[in-house]
């Protein structure tokens, strides 16, 4: 949307197209002024880089508005103001992200070793960590079991909830005509979004306890608990994306004598796939980091378990949680902290990869650009 406005010499003749236009350098000047004024203001209350940035930003946004207002008029001023706010919002959103990522990287990278990836915590005791600290040797004990658990449980949760969620969204958008059932489903899905994760865990545990006897804790129970958390996110995001597919595409397909279900699968869903993929990724990201419901459904172990239908299972978040809250050695907590942060880093990398895959899927099916 931009091809113009390099810094220009002031127009020679009065032009109706460029009159009341701020020259290109104006905003840079305002920025410089804001930075100086911000520095001055912040040194009044004790200079700090954060307050400096904050004051400068506030002054810039305000000054940008008023300068534009005085020269270019209210509409342009509003546009400038909104633009600045949008940019500011983005920068503000980046701050915590950068901070969290830096924290995780700084604390996680030292622990991210092949050993960590290849070994479980089986047989690890505080004594080992005490020795490690005393001798200054590399930390041993890893998260292999947690990686296995996270992958298996999340995969199963996805297998359960994505089809159900997608189909339900399709029902709501394409089939239901706003009837009682549809409203009931919408109603319950809404309620679901606010369910505390631990309650989902307790429910799944209680349900499997009823059916398979008390104390049934397996990866699958955890997957069911996570599905309860995932489904509403899948349903609602998919629902929104399906709703904005233009009706004329559906009509074009119907008019070719294509059945409704094929139309949905081959025209409607592919058109909305990018948003749906985003929603599903979001749903997975939402649950892949859950702790509370996993402890009550999958239990917690230090050894590797590949069987989701039998035996307890550890996952990366429960591993992180336990290592932080109950370090392997209470007296020397550093090795545990190191393992925990490294595990957090691994988890983040997983979700990154997942995001990439989702984007790839979206790119393959998504509407091609063009007018």
């Amino acid at each position: 949307m931009t091809t113009t406005t390099p810094p220009a010499p002031a127009p020679v003749k009065r032009s109706t197209l460029t009159k009341n236009q701020l020259p290109g350098w104006a905003m840079w000047a305002v920025l410089a002024g804001s930075l100086i004024l911000g520095a001055a203001l912040s040194s009044l209350i004790g200079f700090h880089i954060a307050t400096w940035a904050l004051f400068s930003a506030l002054i810039y946004v305000a000054a940008g508005y008023f300068v534009t207002l005085s020269v270019e008029g209210a509409r342009k001023a509003k546009d400038r103001f909104a633009t600045n706010l949008v940019y500011a919002a983005f920068i503000v959103a980046l701050l915590p992200l950068v901070s969290v990522i830096v924290t995780v990287l700084a604390k996680g990278i030292p622990g991210l070793t092949p050993h960590l990836l290849y070994y479980s915590m089986n047989g690890m005791t505080g004594t080992v960590d005490n020795e490690t600290v005393a001798n200054g040797t590399p930390v041993i004990g890893g998260v292999y079991h947690g990686i296995v658990g996270t992958l298996l449980i999340t995969t199963w949760a996805t297998i359960i909830s994505v089809p159900i969620g997608l189909l339900t969204a399709v029902y709501l958008v394409e089939y239901s005509k706003g009837g009682t059932l549809a409203r009931a489903i919408t109603f319950f899905v809404d309620v679901m979004t606010g369910i505390p994760s631990i309650v989902a865990g307790l429910f799944a545990a209680a349900f499997f306890g009823l059916v398979f006897g008390p104390g049934t804790r397996t990866g699958f129970v955890a997957a069911v608990a996570l599905s309860v958390l995932m489904i509403p996110v899948v349903v609602r995001s998919t629902e929104e994306m399906l709703k904005i597919v233009p009706n004329e595409l559906r009509e074009a397909s119907y008019a070719l004598g294509v059945r409704k279900w094929r139309t949905i699968l081959k025209v409607v869903v592919p058109t909305a796939i990018s948003g749906i993929a985003s929603g599903v990724t979001l749903a997975i990201a939402r649950v892949i980091g859950e702790t509370a419901p996993l402890l009550v459904t999958a239990g917690f172990v230090n050894s590797i378990n590949w069987n989701v239908f039998g035996g307890w299972m550890a996952t990366l978040p429960t591993f992180i949680y336990r290592q932080l809250m109950n370090p392997t050695s209470p007296t020397n907590t550093d090795p545990s902290a190191q393992r925990a942060w490294a595990a957090a880093l691994i988890l983040i990398i997983f979700v990154m990869l997942l995001n990439l895959v989702a984007r790839l899927i979206a790119r393959i099916f998504a509407p091609k650009s063009g007018r």
Partner: protein, 343 residues
Amino acid sequence: SDNPTGSPEAAGGDAAVSGTLSGAGASSQDAAMQAWIAGFSAANSGANVQYSPDGSGAGRDAFLAGGVQFAGSDAFLDEEEWEQAKQICGPEGAMNIPVYVSPIAVAFNLEGVKELNLDAETIAKVFRGEITKWNDEAIASQNEGVTLPDTAITVVHRADESGTTENFTEYLHAAAAKVWTDEADGAWPGGLGGENAQGTSGVVSTTSSTNGAITYADASAVGDLGTVKVKVGEEYVAYTPEAAAKAVDAATPVEGRSETDMSLQLNRDTTESGAYPIVLVSYHIYCSSYKDQGTANLVKAFGNYVISEEGQNTAQESAGSAPISDTLREEAKAAIDSIKVAS
């Protein structure tokens, strides 16, 4: 791989025990439990023990529902639970075996001060927020020669319900009843101010990062925080494993339980010399009888390993707990050996 420590594969061990034993409960004994499990599995290749540190209450719940074969708990089964246990454990019910003893340190973060002497009443006043400055007369008078700054005291307590809190408040209520009027409880009394944090590691790290903060926590976790010597009788006692074990020895068994039960009533206002009364005793709860021989054998073998000298020493090494005394051990061994198969 499942062998990060590179320990040699267990060489068979006791062929009689095999199978999986599940337990759940107190997180306080989690570190010790990992040591016990490691040691026990190394000796018994066919046996597998798993423990989920969900919390004492959750552990007892799971045990009473038959979800796990044993529970770890910072509190022994109360009357009601005791009766309930008979449904799954048979007419003789369950047994509480003290397996993990750990002193609770009163730890603080005050620049230049590593140790302070305090009596129960002062501690209670500090934690109630009635003493707000470190140089308060009540503290200064017990610590001559220590330069106390004019720093505000920030009390840090547990946010979650916990056995540590329950034992600590039980001590305060018993030893400073006039100041600490609240009954002992796993939850910190609502209405008292102060900061809180989740878990032992939470209170310790909050205290470490806040100048003038004071907290109570499992002694093994307090690191290089300053600690309080507690007034017992006429002397000030530092927390040590021995001092803690002494306090446990001075405890009285709970009345009206079965022969094999070892629930202990700690004597918090003891004046016995050298005893450190702020102790956490954590139990294993076993059934007096199990449905099948395999499980019974496994429980017995594991229980015996836990209370054995080797087991207690491993726990001390890796979790910093205090080994139980020989008298307690013998009593416990008798109880565990009595576990049988339901007829």
